[in-house]
């Protein structure tokens, strides 16, 4: 009899268990380099497309609306204050495990920018609402490494 009619227990199901290892680097590019360096210096930069009247954050070398080049004169400083557009309390970690303490993530429109920025929001016990004024809080200069996390979090303006 070539066929097994029934496998009574799940652990008897034959399977191959494996994982895919993928190692690599993902270069940040010309605009990314300069934008992250800006964070390290405590500044948030955007690039403004004058034709489309739209400011990108993080700064980019091109406008996705008109596909024009955003050169030297397109760089402007934005924020660090902005307006809360949405927020969420997240209860799961990236691996799907439940977090014992939920974390709050905010969607912020920085002043002078059109693009929205997603980052950690620390509001303590302040009630949140769309339209709330918030600001980026940077890590101390010694702690900054040129990463998105050089901004520690956003918090409501007092």
């Amino acid at each position: 009899m070539p066929l097994k009619e029934r496998i009574p227990h799940l652990h008897e199901v034959r399977s191959w268990r494996g994982s895919i290892q993928l190692e690599g680097v993902y270069t940040v590019g010309v605009a990314g380099e300069r934008w992250l360096q800006g964070l390290q210096e405590g500044r948030i930069y955007g690039t403004r497309c004058l034709r489309c009247r739209y400011t990108y954050v993080p700064a980019r070398l091109f406008c996705e609306r008109c596909l024009g080049h955003l050169g030297e004169d397109a760089w402007i400083e934005v924020g660090p204050q902005g307006t809360l557009m949405a927020w969420t309390q997240v209860h799961v970690a990236p691996d799907g495990q439940r977090l014992s303490h939920p974390r709050c993530i905010g969607l912020v429109r920085l002043d002078r920018a059109d693009a929205l920025m997603v980052h950690e929001l620390q509001a303590e016990d302040r009630p949140l609402q769309v339209g709330l004024r918030v600001e980026a809080v940077f890590r101390s200069p010694a702690e900054r490494v040129g990463s998105l996390r050089d901004v520690a979090y956003f918090r409501p303006l007092p």
Binding site: I7, L10, V13, S15, G18, I20, Y26, V28, G32, L36, Y56, V57, P58, E64, M85, A86, W87, T88, Q89, V90, H91, V92, A93, P94, D95, G96, R98, P102, R103, I105, L107, A115, L116, M117, V118, H119, E120, V130, S147, L148, R149
Partner: protein, 388 residues
């Protein structure tokens, strides 16, 4: 997009599942089961009649590299034209239709499947789709995107959260009458609102759980379709679009990707007033608010109207416009890349009058809309009809 010069019809449909787990079957056996049903439904011999195969899949969900090479054998497509789309199944449908319209084949199969139960870290794979420089440093579960978008939707449209919960109650109840559905349930609004929070205001019950399954269709050029069957379902319009993928520049309010996709599909099908054009809709409801947002993006009601419409029962089977009579992704389970084809399957069965206890009486036209899921901004739309 103008209408194609060539008519294309769906002449066969087959499926395997859908189930929450399927440890007894390999993914190849699931595909074989669905394919043989579809070929027998179409009355074709695939080794003789099939000109090509289009599948939709993602390597990371399959657990192998170059997974498109894994598909022809169990589909009867060895040494035929094989083409794989990394996207939603409706995009594979579009590729199949275009091949026929371009004269590259007369009969083409379209396939997609999910073996989600084989993927031990689906959440982490989805997290890998986030931008490595600008988002991944936050080390956040991508569900935060749904939480933020849901909040924005409630804020902008003024929709009460109870109306969103109503979508879950409706779809999982619809699934009770669907033997394919993996997650049928009779829930109350309180069950939905008070299930554990994922990314507030989103609760676990408002998010579709993944399931295993496979869906296969046989497409045929119009003249061939007429010789094969008198139950052909005609593809009248197709559209698909991708918004800016960046979280910074995408549209957070109105599912712009689907609005764009729908406009193309409607133009092709010659539809002026979508609200009165369809007898039923199968639309992506990966998250409950997405059903409402998508109905509005499809132009079936005004922005902010879908919630009230749902609460009044207009989208129930028997209502003004039944939405997701199958139970949707919430009731059937989310089939990863195959989820658009799962929506399409229900529409095809409804138009053939074969939907059993959940049949929408006298259904002649249907609208199908899919979303590629978190964290994407890709949607696809198909307009179907019983008449060419």
């Amino acid at each position: 997009m103008r209408r194609w010069n060539t008519e294309v019809a769906i002449v066969g449909a087959g499926w395997s599942g859908f189930r929450s787990i399927s440890p007894d079957l390999s993914f190849r056996e699931m595909m074989f089961e669905a394919a043989t049903k579809a070929y027998s439904d179409a009355g074709i011999d695939p080794r003789r009649d099939l000109d090509g195969l289009v599948t939709a899949e993602e390597d990371f969900h399959e657990g192998v590299a170059i997974s498109d090479e894994y598909v022809p054998d169990q589909m009867g497509a060895v040494l035929k034209s094989v083409h794989t789309i990394a996207g939603d199944g409706l995009q594979a449908l579009a590729a199949g239709v275009m091949q026929i319209a371009a004269g590259a084949g007369r009969i083409v199969a379209v396939e997609s499947h999910s073996k989600a139960s084989n993927v031990l870290n689906l959440d982490q794979i989805t997290a890998l789709a986030l931008d490595p420089v600008y988002q991944r440093p936050l080390e956040a579960h991508p569900i935060f995107i749904a939480g933020l978008e849901f909040r924005r939707y409630l804020e902008v449209t003024g929709t009460p959260i109870e109306h969103v919960a109503r979508v879950v109650v409706k779809n999982r109840r619809n699934a009770l009458r669907n033997p394919r559905a993996a997650f049928p349930a009779d829930l109350t609004l309180e069950d939905v609102l008070h299930s554990e929070p994922l990314a507030e205001p989103l609760t676990r019950a408002m998010a579709a759980d993944p399931a295993d399954g496979c869906v296969v269709f046989v497409l045929a050029r119009g003249d061939v379709a007429r010789t094969l069957t008198d139950r052909a379902v005609w593809i009248r319009g197709l559209g698909w679009a991708t918004d800016s993928y960046t979280l910074e520049n995408r549209d957070w309010e109105g599912a712009r990707y689907l609005r764009q996709a729908a406009e193309r599909a409607y133009r092709q099908a010659g539809i002026q007033s979508p609200r009165r054009a369809f007898d039923l809709v199968e639309v992506d409801d990966t998250f409950a608010y997405k059903e409402l947002q998508h109905l509005e993006a499809l132009g079936l009601c005004r922005p902010g109207e879908a919630g009230r419409w749902t609460a009044e029962g207009a989208t129930e089977v028997g209502g003004e416009l039944p939405v997701n009579p199958s139970g949707g992704c919430l009731g059937e389970g989310h089939l990863l890349e195959a989820s658009g084809l799962a929506r399409l399957l229900e529409a095809v069965l409804q138009l053939r009058g074969e939907a059993g206890p959940r049949q929408v009486p006298n259904a002649r036209t249907a609208l199908v809309a899919s979303w590629r899921g978190l964290p994407t901004t890709t949607g696809a739309v198909a307009v179907l009809s019983r008449e060419p």
